[in-house]
Amino acid sequence: MSITISAMTKRFHKTDVLRGIDLDIAPGELVALLGPSGSGKTTLLKIIAGLEWPDAGSLTVNGADWLQLAARDRRVGFVFQHYALFPHMTVRDNLAFGLSVRPRAERPGKAAITARVDELLHFLQIAHLADRYPAQLSGGQRQRVALGRALAIQPRLLLLDEPFGALDAAIRRDLRRWLRGVHEATGSTTIFVTHDQEEAFELADRVVVMGEGRIAQIGHADEIHDHPASPFVARFMGATVELPVTLAQGRALAPGLDLTALPRRALPDGAATLFARPADIRALPDAASPWRVAQVSSTGAELRLILSHPDLPEAEAVMPRRGTAPLRQGDAVALRIEAAALFPASRREAPPAPQSDNPKKEIAR
């Protein structure tokens, strides 16, 4: 299934949920739609499934216009966040549902349906649950049944909405590996929605980062991690420390910051904003720096520092405890930034992150 989405927009009441989506997905690809809640990722998924309709734009699958095709004719496997299993049917009947509602001419015989369901029960390792009702299953088991029900119709395209959202951490990791296996075994094109970066990067071939109804960046884990395309992506990827700097000939400068580790950038001279992860910041004793240690705490392996500045919001640094010079509250420190993203301060921020400490944004609104 090759999928092409172009110039797609969607409004709910007065909110723009999708503001122009262009996306190509190759056959057999496993793609993650990653973004905070309200970024439009679930809406996009539902439009692909035929459960929502866009206001404008096109959705082409293998050359066919899917906006002319009803949901029931698309043969898409859709797994809902809360599974949406049929509570009055056993696991077996849930799995058989998609086959049993086919028009008589296409419907497999009873024996064929039973055989297909048995095969799925084994494939999903839930054969012992066949005669239970959804209410008698754990979250992870329901998830498998929901996936099995979607796979029963041999979908050309598998869509999953926050597939592990309602499960606890250990089961998530297990099911993630297992879902990857299912994807490879069935060879179907798969798209899943998540707000968890780790999940998206570990599982997907390609990650589409969405924010406020737009695609903010498309890429692999390393690309998005090291080279965020916008302040929004940088923040979303954990670069929570934002510092004002001055650019001169591609080098960033600021009092109290040691920025020599950053490579030269092809950016215009002038004001810029630096986005860094706490783990990429080292605090080094420096009596001349305006930065002070406001708080030190240790997890044993790491030191977590809260750093204060007379004119700027507090910053956070996380450093290995061993090999770090002992720091005490009130010490003056320079911040050495090991890696960071830089964006010219004049650049208008497209997608969000409502933070009032960014004056540019306030003006732009």
Binding site: R72, F78, A84, L85, G98, A152
Partner: protein, 270 residues
């Protein structure tokens, strides 16, 4: 319920005693009295009262009304609940309020409205007469008024459930290839089954017992447009107390059966 296992305080015992006394005085005693009076002159007189052609006709007419009204209102209730729970459209809020109107309007006013609309001097009267259609003082009028009065019962039971359950199961069924009818038959209906039955029982009980609205539009023609509740009143006005109580006992029995079914359904739903 921890309260049930705690020993009752004197105050609680007193409250229970008051509740029990009032229930006996205002509910159980009148009910028992109906049967006591109906059978006061023996089984034979009771049966002859029931088998009186006028009473039989009233029972038959009431059954016909219920058989027409209840299925129509079940269909209306499901359709209205589905429209309101699953769709967003202009006037949706007004529709929700409209569904409740019959509960807040006295049935007699409904009857008068129908009379003013379909009666001989009514708005549509001349046209109906010209086409030889008799609505008032005939079966169609009784059915119309009963439908109006009992319209909310099914919708009111089904709607909150459909809203609470959301549409994800139905959407799942659609993506699996189910047609609209298959979605309704195999996913929606099983989910609302108990609420639907519950609403149907309430609707039936009310359709059988409706008096005020029907008394305006029926014309009380004995053996023709006299439903069971109207017949009870007629017999009572005729000073035929035993006959009135015999007919009333039939109504009461229907009500008790409806109540038993309703309690059973309550237990199933809990």
């Amino acid at each position: 319920m921890s309260a049930a296992t705690r020993p009752a305080s004197p105050g609680a015992k007193a409250l229970v005693a008051i509740a029990a006394t009032l229930t006996i005085l205002f509910v159980a005693a009148p009910l028992a009295y109906i049967f006591a009076r109906a059978f006061s002159q023996g089984w034979q007189v009771y049966m002859s009262n029931i088998l009186n052609p006028m009473t039989l006709h009233a029972i038959w007419l009431t059954s016909i009304v219920a058989l027409v009204v209840v299925p129509l209102n079940v269909a209306f209730g499901i359709a209205a609940a589905w429209a309101v729970a699953r769709h967003r459209f202009p006037g949706r809020g007004i529709l929700v309020t409209m569904i409740e109107i019959p509960f807040s309007i006295s049935p007699i006013i409904a009857g008068i409205c129908y009379l003013l609309l379909y009666g001989r001097q009514g708005l549509l009267g001349p046209w109906l007469q010209a086409n030889d259609i008799q609505v008032m003082f005939a079966l169609p009028g009784i059915i119309l008024v009963t439908m109006f009065v009992t319209a909310p019962f099914v919708a009111r039971e089904v709607l909150p459930l459909m809203q609470a359950q959301g549409s994800e199961q139905e959407q799942a069924a659609v993506t699996l290839g189910a047609s609209g009818w298959q979605v309704f038959r195999r996913v929606t209906l099983p989910n609302i089954k108990w609420a639907l039955l519950y609403g149907t029982v309430l609707c039936t009980a009310r359709a059988v017992g409706e008096f005020g609205g029907v008394s305006v539009v029926s014309g009380n023609i004995r053996g023709q447009t006299n439903t069971l509740p109207l017949h009870v009143e007629l017999l009572f006005n005729d000073l035929n107390a035993v006959g009135a109580f015999a007919a009333a006992s039939v109504l009461t029995l229907i009500a008790l059966i409806a109540l038993a079914v309703k309690s059973l359904l309550d237990a199933r739903r809990a």
